[in-house]
Symmetry: C2
Subunit: 604 residues, 2 copies
C-alpha cells in the first residue's frame, strides 16, 4: 500500500483541527522559548565556556532537529516567516560548525572531539537520525536544502565509518533512530546507499560483533539481546524499542522482507496484547524507561513515556501500510486520543514526559520512592518529548489514508479534505464529522468513482457483520457521500485478570476515549468510589476544560478523617453515600493543579 502524506490531507475542522491550531499557535512557540532559554539553540554555535549557564548535552541536537522538523510540517500549511528565519539561523549554525569530514554533533565535536564514535551510548547516530528527518522535512516543505546537504555529507561519513570501514567502537547505535531516518532518506532520495545503511544497522543489531554495552547493562535495554528477526517480545527502553520496530517495518515494506515483517507482527502483537496500557501508553517502569513483562501494568508507577506513545503510532502506521488489518488503525486511534494527547496541557504549552495512569493521594506517597511527575512542564533536562509531540500533531494528516491498486483505505475520522491519487486519477475525499463527540461521519468523493474501505473501530458494534479485516467496503460514485454512524457507546472496560492490580476494576470509555476521575471534580480518596458495571452515564461538557464529560452515580465510602479514627474496623460499619461521579477524558487530566487521578475504578 501507499501512504497518503499529510501534505495531501487538510484537517479542516473539529477536534483535531483545534489540536493542530494549538500546536501552531502555542506549542511550537512554547518549545522554542524553553529551548532558547536553556541554551539548546545557542549550543549550535559551539561557543559555550566553563562557568556559563546551560552546559550543552550530547543529545541536544536532536531537540533542535525535532523542533525544525515540527516547524517544517507547520510551514507546509501555514507560513510563518519569523520562525522560519529562526530555523534558517539554526541551520546556518549547524552548517557553519559541521566538521570538515561531515560529522555533526555540536556537543561531541566541541567537548569530546577525541571520543567521536567511541561510545555507543553517546546518542551520536540518534542525533544524526533526527537531523536527517529534519533535513528531509525542511527541504520538502520549504524547498531549502542546506540542512539536507549537510546531512548527506554527514551520512557519507557514517557510511564510511560504520558500513565501509567498520572503524567505530561499536556497530549499532545504543539509541535507535537513524535506522528509520535512513529508510525515510532512501524513500526521499531514492539513493540505495541509505537503504544499505538502514539494513546494516538493523541487521547487525543483536549480533554482538563488537561490544554492545548500553547503560543499564542489560542487552535488552537497547534491544541487542537477539538478532532482530529472532525477537518476539517488546523489550528494554520503550522509545528505543518502538523506533527500532518502526525501522524494521520500514525495511520489511521496502525490501519485501517477510521474515522481518513476521518479527514486527509478533512484537506488535506482544505489545498490544500483553504490554500496553488501556491508554495506548507503553513502558511500565522508570527503571530503564522500559518494557518489563507480560501483564505488568502498574498504574501509579506507570512510566508510559510520551515519546514511546508516539513511537507506537509510528510502528503501527508502518504496519498499516503493509497489511489490511484494522488493528493498526485501532491502536493509532487509541494512542492518539489517550496516551498521546495526554502528553500536553490543553493549552499546548507544557508537556508530560511520563504519563501516570493513576495519581494517588499525596499523603500516601512514600518518601524516597520515585513517582512519576503529576504536572506537565514546559521543558525537561531531557526534553525529547515536547518537540516529538509537535511534529506528530503538525503532520497528523499522515495517518488518515492509505491506498492500494484499487482501494482507498480510510483509517481515522477527522473533518478533512484529501487529494488522493488512485488508478491514474486524483479523487478528493471530504470527511465531515463531529467525531469523537459523535460517531456520524460523512465521506464525499469527487473527481471520480472510488472503492473505499473504512475502518470500523474495535470499540464499535456497528457494521460488525459487514467487515473484512475490520474494514467496511463501500463503492462511491463521483459526487456520492457515504454516511457512516459509528455508535459511540459508553462502557466500562476491564483489564485481563492477569493484570493483577486491575482485577475488580474497570476503566470508563466512550468510543475511542478513555476517561478518568480527578479529585478536583470528585473529592479526595478516589478509590473510595464504587461503580456498578451497568451504571448509566450522562454525556456532558465542561466548558472550562473544553472537554466532554460523563457523569453517573457511584457509591462513595464515607471517610472518618478524625485523627483517632480506627485503623481497622468492621466492614459492616463501612458507610456509603450515593454521589454523582464526574469523569473527564484521560487526556485532559492534570490541567487544574495537583489532583488525585484514577483511570481504573472499583466495580461492584
Amino acid at each position: 500500500m501507499k501512504n497518503i502524506g499529510f501534505e495531501k490531507v487538510n484537517i479542516t475542522d473539529g477536534f483535531w483541527k483545534a489540536q493542530q491550531d494549538i500546536v501552531k499557535n502555542a506549542s511550537i512557540y512554547s518549545v522554542y522559548n524553553r529551548f532558547n532559554d536553556t541554551g539548546r539553540f545557542e549550543a549550535l554555535k559551539m561557543n559555550w565556556k566553563e562557568g556559563m549557564p546551560n552546559r550543552p548535552h550530547f543529545f541536544w541536537d536532536s531537540d533542535v532537529a525535532k523542533w525544525i522538523e515540527s516547524l517544517a510540517y507547520i510551514l507546509e500549511k501555514t507560513p510563518c516567516d519569523e520562525l522560519e528565519a529562526k530555523a534558517d539561523e539554526m541551520i546556518d549554525n549547524i552548517a557553519a560548525h559541521q566538521s570538515e569530514n561531515g560529522y555533526i554533533n555540536s556537543y561531541m565535536a566541541y567537548f569530546e572531539s577525541d571520543k567521536i564514535f567511541t561510545n555507543r551510548d553517546r546518542h551520536e547516530l540518534y542525533t544524526i537520525g533526527h537531523l536527517t528527518e529534519a533535513a528531509i522535512a525542511y527541504h520538502k516543505h520549504t524547498g531549502k536544502r542546506k540542512l539536507l546537504d549537510c546531512m548527506e555529507k554527514c551520512l557519507d561519513l557514517v557510511y564510511n565509518v560504520f558500513v565501509k570501514y567498520d572503524a567505530a567502537n561499536f556497530v549499532t547505535p545504543g539509541h535507535e533512530e537513524i535506522e528509520l531516518a535512513l529508510a525515510k532518506m532512501y524513500n526521499y532520495t531514492g539513493d540505495s546507499k541509505y537503504l544499505e545503511m538502514a539494513n546494516f544497522f538493523v541487521d547487525n543489531r543483536g549480533l554482538h560483533k563488537k561490544s554492545e554495552s548500553a547503560n543499564p547493562a542489560s542487552p535488552k535495554y537497547s534491544q541487542s539481546h537477539l538478532p532482530v528477526r529472532e525477537q518476539t517480545t517488546a523489550e528494554g527502553h520503550a522509545v528505543r524499542a518502538v523506533y527500532l520496530y518502526t525501522a524494521m517495518a520500514d525495511l520489511a515494506y521496502i525490501n519485501g522482507d517477510k521474515e522481518l515483517l513476521k518479527a514486527c507482527e509478533t512484537i506488535f502483537s506482544n505489545i498490544v496484547n500483553k504490554r500496553m496500557y488501556i491508554t495506548g501508553g507503553i513502558g511500565s517502569t522508570a527503571r530503564g524507561e522500559a518494557f518489563t513483562k507480560d501483564y505488568d501494568l502498574p498504574n501509579i508507577m506507570a512510566y508510559t513515556e510520551s515519546c514511546a506513545a508516539i513511537g507506537l503510532i509510528m510502528f503501527a502506521s508502518r504496519l498499516q501500510q503493509i497489511s489490511v488489518n484494522s488493528l493498526y488503525g485501532d491502536i493509532i486511534e487509541k494512542v492518539l486520543y489517550n496516551g498521546f494527547l495526554s502528553d500536553k496541557t490543553l493549552d499546548g504549552k507544557a508537556f508530560f514526559y511520563e504519563n501516570p495512569i493513576e495519581i494517588p493521594p499525596a499523603a500516601s506517597k512514600v518518601d524516597d520512592v520515585r513517582y512519576p511527575i503529576t504536572q506537565r512542564l514546559e521543558v525537561f533536562g531531557c526534553s525529547c518529548c515536547p518537540p516529538n509531540i509537535t511534529r506528530l500533531l503538525a503532520s497528523l494528516g499522515n495517518y488518515l489514508y492509505t491506498t492500494d491498486e484499487d482501494t482507498v483505505y480510510c483509517h481515522q475520522y477527522m473533518s478533512s479534505d484529501a487529494e488522493i491519487e488512485i488508478g491514474g486519477k486524483t479523487v478528493k475525499l471530504v470527511q465531515k464529522t463531529d467525531y469523537p463527540r459523535d460517531g456520524k461521519v460523512s465521506i464525499t468523493c469527487t473527481g471520480g468513482d472510488v472503492h473505499l474501505a473504512v475502518r470500523v473501530p474495535a470499540w464499535c458494534d456497528s457494521y460488525k457483520d459487514q467487515t473484512k479485516n475490520g474494514y467496511l467496503y463501500i463503492d462511491l460514485a463521483d459526487g456520492e457521500t457515504a454516511d457512516l454512524d459509528f455508535e459511540m457507546v459508553t462502557r466500562f472496560m476491564s483489564a485481563n485478570p492477569h493484570v493483577n492490580e486491575d482485577i475488580g476494576k474497570a476503566a470508563l470509555t466512550r468510543g475511542p476515549i478513555v476517561f478518568c476521575l480527578e479529585e478536583v471534580d470528585n473529592g479526595p480518596l478516589l478509590r473510595t468510589l464504587r461503580f456498578n458495571s451497568n451504571t448509566e452515564f450522562e454525556l456532558g461538557y465542561d466548558s472550562d476544560l473544553g472537554v466532554i464529560t460523563l457523569t453517573g452515580e457511584a457509591q462513595k465510602q464515607i471517610v472518618d478523617s478524625s485523627d483517632d479514627a480506627p485503623l481497622y474496623y468492621r466492614t459492616s460499619d463501612c458507610k456509603y453515600e450515593t454521589v454523582k461521579a464526574k469523569f473527564i477524558p484521560y487526556y485532559a487530566f492534570a490541567n487544574r493543579g495537583e489532583s488525585e487521578m484514577a483511570v481504573f475504578v472499583n466495580i461492584i
Copy 2:
C-alpha cells in the same frame, strides 16, 4: 502494677501449649543446628582463619545470646542436659575470650580490635545487651552465674567508656537493645549503676552530642532525630524503634517518669492507629527496614520483620504493666496470633524474617524489584529473628497476668495454671479454655479470694457494657470459678480508607485470628475472588495443617488464560462463577510450598 513472670505460669494445654512444645522439641534444635552449621558458635573461640568458610559477623554474639536465653527459659520448665551442656560450652568460650578490660564481642575483638567503640553501627552495645539478657536468664533459670559475671565486668567497661569517661566515638548505640537489657539488669540485681546507664543511653538519644550517623544516613533511622521525650511518631528501623520504646517504657515505670510515659503512649498510639498491619506487623518497607508514614501499609511489599512484631509485644507489655487499658492486651493478642505466629513454619523449624501480607502471582513479579521472601528459611545471613521467636514462645507465660495492690489482671486466655502473690497471700488461678477455637474460658481460683479483672477483647461484643478500661471485674471466692464466654464472631474487617491500597477490600477475622486465602486452596489469581461483606462462613478444620478454616461462597472471575486472550475487554463480558473459598489463619500461610496469598480480599 507488677508483672507475673512465666516461671509462675504454666501453660498446660491447648493452642499455646502446642506452640511451646514445638519450640522445645523442634525450634530450639533447628536454630542450634543452623547456627552451628554457619559457624556462629565456633566463632566464639575466635580462631577463624582467612580461607575458612563462615567468616564471623559483628552481630553474631547476639544470635548466640538469644539462643542461650531461649534455652534458659525452656530449662525453667524442662531439663535438657544435652543443650545445657552446649550452652555451658558457649559460655566457657565467651568467658575464655573476654578481653582483660571486660570487652565482649567475638568479632570486633578478633577482627577489628583497633576499632572498638568507634563505629556507632557496629552493634557492639546491641550484642552486649543481648548477652546481658541471656546472662540474667541463664542465671535465673539454671543458677549458673558465669555469664552473668562476665557481663557485669563487661557492663563496668561500658559504664566507664560511655557514662564516666565519654571515651567512645559515639554516645548512644546505633541499634538499641542495651537500654532494655540494662533496665532488666537493674531489676534483677538492684544495682542502681545499671539504671543510671539505661537512663544515660535513653536520655542522650537525639541530643547529638557526638556524631550520631547511622546507615542509612537519616537520623530517623536510629530514632536519633529528636530527644526521646519529644518523639511522637514511630520512626526509622522498626526493630530498633520498638526496642527503644520498650526501654523508654521500662524507665517510665521504674522512674515514675510521666513525661517519658506520655511519649511512650503517644508513640504507641501512632503505631497502632496509623502504622500497623491488621496482623500486628510493623515496618512498611524494606528500605531501612522501617516505618514510613501514617497509613502507608502496602501488602505485597510489607516488610513487617518478625523481630519488630516481637518488639511490639515487648513494648505493649511494658505499658500494660503501667496502665489498666485493654488496648495493650488486645495488641499483644493480635500480634501473638498473627504477625508473630506467622514467623515460623507450623513444624517450628523454619522462620520468616519478613512477613508479607500478600503474595502476588509469581508471573506478576517484576525482575530487579526486591520482593519479600515467600517461604520460611532455617537460617539467614542476618538471623536475628529465629532465636527471638524461640525466646518469646519459651517465656510466653510472661504475658498473662499483672497485679496491683488488690486486683489480678488477666490479659490473655490460655489453658494454664499460675501462682500469684497478692495481698500477702498466694492464690492459684487455673484457666481452662479451647481459645481461640472457642471463646469459653473458665478461671478457677484457689488459695484465697481474688478480685479479678479480665480483658474483654476489642473484637468481642460480649460484656461490652460491663467493662472499665476494657476489663470485666469479677470477685472470686476461694474455690470459685468464673465462666466467661467471649463470642468468637467471624467478620470482615476493613482498613481505614486512608490506607489507599485496601480500599474496597477487607480481611476476614474470627476472634483474634486474621485469615488469609492461599492459592493452594483456591486456585491462582486470588484477586479474582469477590465476597459479599455479609457472607456466612463455616468453621472447619484442616487436619493436614492442624488449623481451623473458614469456608464461604465467593464470586470468582472466570479467567481466559489463552495466549491471545484480549488485554482489555468489555466489563460486561466479565464472567463469574460461584465458588467455595477456603480461608486459613494467616499464621499458617506458606506451609505448603510456593503459593499466592492474600489477607485483604475484594468486597462487593
